[in-house]
Symmetry: C2
Subunit: 347 residues, 2 copies
DNA sequence: ACAGGTTATGACAGCGCTGTCAATACGGTC
DNA sequence: GACCGTATTGACAGCGCTGTCATAACCTGT
């Protein structure tokens, strides 16, 4: 409501609205722009003047309005972040790494969760873009043409995270999920196992898990082994799903597998629980391997063989590169964060 | 750079900058304000006009600038969210509930993680406030006077979440952690246990766990039992910490406990792993109880006795009340989301 | 044909801040 | 003492949008 107060009287401001820079300036006896420079520590301002302005700001409990600042030309300090899910600790870890690094430089994430839904992702992208963020960090569900178009037209730094297998428009930070699956295949084959099965969750959504499966299959093929039973159950990965899934997998298999590769640690822990409940000796009767390197897997009585996916680090590096670019640097376009195979005791 | 273009020539806009409402308006042959109304579907706009404007917006790939809109008087659609941590799935669940509900109404969270640090929380609060959000959702670490002052001066709807034990300035949504501890005491005592111990994590940070401990102690006292060993280990709760902690607790106890209450499920699952590894029969030799109702606990070979804390629901309700208030409603000041004791098989 | 209502559109100013350019004051140099 | 470079401050306009008020166009009933 623009016209709600008289032109030359904003005494009521102190009552109704938050203090503005103009009020701080008046209280300090300087012009608006000088107050602005003093508070931002930008441009030459006399020591004494700056002190006066800062005291005035403190006294008035001034909180700058960054909407106005950004609109007027200052660089935004918001970063749009789009993740496919938060049900799994994986993306929470990434987000933690992101937030931590961004916060350190005074940036803040605006968050959107796509639920692996490309249409929702599109909407989110549009919504977040309408806040004119300085940059974008996105773990794409599956990119549509609209998404691609929006990103291209947006003309801001974009970091795609989690995997480096797909091609990316701008920067990418992640691990090679295909490579991780392949590495596990080689590791398990090297341990002497020959009959393999795979137990996964909602394949239609989590395409990174699918990439690991592909890598696993190819890795086995490279050593002359064919992947046996592949069971993918609908829905998100949970410990229960892994537990029930393994029971079903073993029941259905005509020749029992020697080793099972799970889509991730949640599933694998469930598998371990099933073995324990069913009296199956691990790894003698059945070897188990997961993915992610969750702490729960390592705290099992028998630590899980898995691959550490460096989630928090991915978030941290993604934020670092984004900030670097915003500061005028030229960070690498693709950053392949190394995964690490944790031998464990289950395979 | 305000002066970068001539007054009567913004053809270059199309090249350099994102399209503005003014360009959409011109393309549709209407005034700016009509285009604004058409796109917002606010105020009377002829069907035909609206179609023209929408087509123009689409053709130009127009994305509204909400910074400008909000500055000009439209209600902000950002909500500041401050959580103490993301390492634990608990707050990720809350955030999921929040984001989901907010997204449904076109709102987006700006996130801050305080790491249980009151000073960082202060800074976050100030930073988020500078974006002039429509409201705030905060799981306070420990409120300082500055925090209180900022919240009071901010004059916007604030929902404090997680617990309803502390007094809150505006709205509160959560469970009574004291009550949860007390309920567990009564439950366990009712099952016939008499010698109790408590195993917790970083007490200096997670004051809600401390409230549960208090409630547990008082609940036992009410049935004439005294809480025995209390061991609180530094650092955040993890499965490993629970596992190692229980080993230590049992080694240190002069009279072995019959039942152990853990600060949460992560710790309790670790305890279950220790028992399994050490060959301690659960619950015959030792009963275990946790808090949170994590799915991992329920997927254990022997489902964990615990208390479901309805985390996602808390986030959802918090967002709902905030939105309600923003829409002019008067939601309850305190919403006590019921917790639910899950009997399980470990106690 | 005319008052009285509704519907559709626009002019205008301003939200709170910052980039650009201009102006002033000061110290020293030749 | 005229001149220059630097430090400090301010005037001004404008970022892109929306609330308020005013105006124009159109309908109804009499």
């Amino acid at each position: 409501m623009p016209h709600f107060r008289g032109m030359d009287d904003d005494r009521q401001d102190t009552q109704t609205r938050r203090p503005t820079l103009s009020q701080v300036a008046r209280a300090a006896g300087v012009s608006e722009i000088t107050a602005s420079r003093a508070l931002r520590r930008d441009g030459p301002v006399a020591r004494d003047t700056r002190d006066r302005v800062e005291r005035a700001a403190l006294a008035l409990n001034y909180v700058p309005n960054r909407l106005a600042g950004t609109l007027a030309g200052a660089a935004s300090r918001q970063v749009g972040v789009i993740l496919p899910s938060l049900s799994n600790i994986v993306f929470a870890d990434v987000l933690k790494g992101l937030e931590d690094r961004l916060e350190g430089d005074g940036y803040h994430p605006i968050l959107g969760i796509s639920n692996y839904d490309p249409l929702r992702e599109e909407r989110l992208l549009r919504d977040l873009l309408s806040w004119r963020p300085a940059g974008l960090v996105i773990a794409p569900a599956r990119k549509t043409d609209v998404t691609r178009g929006l990103l291209a037209a947006a003309d801001l730094p974009v970091v795609e995270i989690m995997d480096v297998d797909a091609e990316s428009a701008d920067m990418a930070v992640g691990i090679s999920h295909y490579g991780a699956g392949r590495a596990m295949a080689h590791y398990l084959a090297g341990r002497g196992y020959r009959r393999f099965a795979y137990l996964g969750h909602g394949i239609e959504t989590d395409f990174r898990a699918t990439q690991r499966l592909d890598g696993f299959r190819d890795g086995l093929r490279e050593v002359g082994v064919t992947l046996g039973n592949v069971l993918c159950l609908p829905g998100p990965s949970t410990v229960s799903l892994g537990r029930e899934g393994l029971a079903r997998l073993l029941a259905e298999a005509e020749t029992p597998p020697e080793a099972v590769f799970f889509s991730n640690d949640d599933m694998a822990v469930g598998g371990a629980f099933h073995c324990q409940a069913a009296g199956i000796a691990v790894p003698e009767e059945l070897a188990l391997a997961g993915f992610n390197g969750l702490s729960i897997g390592q705290a099992l009585p028998r630590p899980l063989t898995t691959i550490a996916s460096q989630r928090e680090h991915i978030g941290f590096v993604a934020a670092t590169h984004l900030l670097d670019r915003l500061a005028g640097g030229r960070p690498p376009r693709v950053t392949n964060v190394d995964f690490r195979l944790i031998p464990g005791a289950t395979a």
